[in-house]
């Protein structure tokens, strides 16, 4: 009765899609004492960063026994250190069943996702140019010297992506770091895909279908008014994508 009366009133909730960048803890083996010590050690390096963060446990590199994998202990230890384990990524069916028993969310693993990509048409491996690695700690940039054509996708999962050719309409380039396009950018460019909000996109001519930095994006329509078809950089300032001409940088 009261239900019908509220039909015109406000909805209880609405579902929206959200993409959040999160920290993954790549578990190699599990021993509760070792785990807690290592965790405390990490936290002591950056206490602010770890306070109340959501965390997912990645099982892709797990080499221990399934029987040692005690999610209740992992959750308990993390909670004692103000970290919230919310889900598990990857893992075999048994491991995922254990995770489910501990009320954790199941997130598709990197491996699973990669396999899907391979099935998709043309996950192209463009020939890469050798990259000089002076400092081994720095993530190497991926350098592409051929045009990235419609339907192709080029991904730099760790560092910057440098393209010395056009990125065509219908192509997609993604990088953990910055993206440089020394040619027209006509396709989609997504920088800082792991959440690096300091990443930028540089291009010689902005003609893009979409540009994104750390999940904040602008589509072609919204890019037309500022710097269109000219050399620009795109960066994030106060959660807003800002396009600025390169010659005044």
């Amino acid at each position: 009765m009261s239900n019908t009366a509220t039909s015109g009133a406000q909805q209880v909730f609405q579902l929206k899609s959200a993409s959040v960048s999160m920290t993954a803890l790549e578990l190699h083996y599990f021993d509760n004492d070792d785990f807690e010590n290592a965790l405390k050690d990490k936290i002591s390096q950056a206490p602010g960063f770890f306070r109340d963060i959501p965390l997912i446990i990645s099982l892709e590199k797990y080499e221990g026994l399934d029987s040692e994998l005690d999610f209740f202990k992992i959750i308990g230890t993390c909670r004692r250190n103000n970290i919230h384990v919310i889900g598990v990524r990857g893992g075999n069916n048994d491991q995922r069943r254990l995770a489910r028993g501990a009320a954790l969310a199941l997130i598709p693993g990197n491996g699973q996702r990669d396999r899907d990509h391979e099935a998709a048409p043309e996950k192209t491996e463009l020939p890469e140019e050798p990259v000089a690695r002076a400092a081994p700690e720095a993530s190497p940039a991926r350098i592409i010297s051929q045009p990235v054509r419609s339907g192709q996708q080029v991904f730099a999962p760790e560092g910057d992506l440098i393209i010395l050719a056009p990125v065509q309409a219908g192509a997609e380039v993604l990088a953990a770091g910055n993206i440089h396009v020394y040619g027209p950018l006509r396709g989609r460019a997504l920088a800082g895909i792991h959440g690096d909000s300091a990443a930028r996109v540089f291009c010689q001519s902005l003609e893009a279908e979409l540009v994104s930095v750390a999940g904040h994006y602008k589509i072609s329509e919204d890019l037309q008014d500022n710097g269109w078809k000219s050399a620009v950089q795109i960066q994030l300032r106060d959660d807003l994508l800002v396009v600025s001409p390169l010659d005044k940088a």
Partner: protein, 270 residues
């Protein structure tokens, strides 16, 4: 060893078969032993344009399935005696072109011919992939309009990733842009992309520009490769393209509208 050249586009109706017929005829006319292979299983057209449809006994699929030998299926052209046609099947599915079967036929052709021209079906599915897989060179047939250019870009990406050369890490497939149905008047009026626009977008070397012409349609209907219409703009443009394919330097023609005599020249060929 033969040079294997695929004529492809992604988009349909842009002039792949017309181009295959003219390029192969042009190469053969210069004395090269040339075969043109129709990969468009189920939509057999090449034999019509080459005017040999009444001489088809066995086809490409018969050879793949071992029902006929290559020599039984090859048709010798009546006008140019170094030119052969391997027609396709009108009744089968594209999947009848198995990768192993295509490889076997292409290998066998490479042993005896100087040039193997593969006439690709439209699209980016199995038939098109089979046609481009063995290519050393590709003629990307493109009309001066946005969707055709986009599809050409797509097929260029596929050439770079799915061809045998790409998979084996060899020197990449050599790409040529052939702009067909080019109408300088419409370009001037802004109704068509210009040569410069298309070159700028696709960023591959220009092999030639074939002007839009009634002669092309008339020649197709008569079963005559348009390159044999030697007085026509389109025929001469194809001849230039063949010369450039062989490494000759030739200036681009037919890029601007010829004020006087342009239409009379076009219609004379019909």
């Amino acid at each position: 060893m033969a040079r294997i050249i695929v004529v492809t586009s992604g988009k349909g109706g842009v002039g792949k078969t017309t181009t295959s017929a003219s390029i192969s005829t042009g190469l053969a006319k210069r004395g090269y032993k040339t075969v043109v292979v129709d990969f468009d299983v189920g939509l057999r057209n090449l034999d019509l344009i080459m005017n040999c449809e009444r001489r088809v006994v066995y086809d490409f699929v018969n050879v793949i399935q071992g029902d006929a030998t290559l020599n039984q299926a090859l048709i010798r052209d009546k006008r140019v005696n170094t030119l052969y046609i391997l027609p396709t099947s009108q009744t089968r599915e594209k999947e009848a072109l198995t990768p192993e079967g295509v490889e076997k036929v292409i290998k066998e052709l490479s042993e005896t011919f100087d040039y193997v021209i593969c006439d690709s079906p439209a699209g980016i599915e199995h038939g098109a992939l089979m046609a481009l897989y063995h290519a050393d060179e590709a003629i990307i047939t493109t009309n001066p309009e946005v969707s055709s250019v986009r599809d050409s870009d797509r097929i260029l990406g596929i050439l770079q990733s799915k061809s045998w050369r790409a998979e084996s890490g060899l020197e990449p497939v050599k790409e040529h842009l052939l702009l067909t149905r080019y109408n300088p008047d419409r370009v001037e009026r802004g109704e068509m992309l210009s040569v410069a626009d298309v070159e700028e977008i696709l960023a591959i070397p220009l092999l030639g520009v074939i002007p839009e012409s009634q002669v092309v349609l008339n020649a197709s209907n008569q079963g005559l490769p348009v390159i044999l219409e030697e007085d026509s703009d389109a025929g001469q443009a194809y001849d230039d393209a063949v010369a450039r394919l062989l490494g000759e330097e030739r200036e681009q023609r037919f890029l601007t509208s010829q004020k006087k005599g342009f239409f009379s020249r076009i219609f004379k060929g019909g």
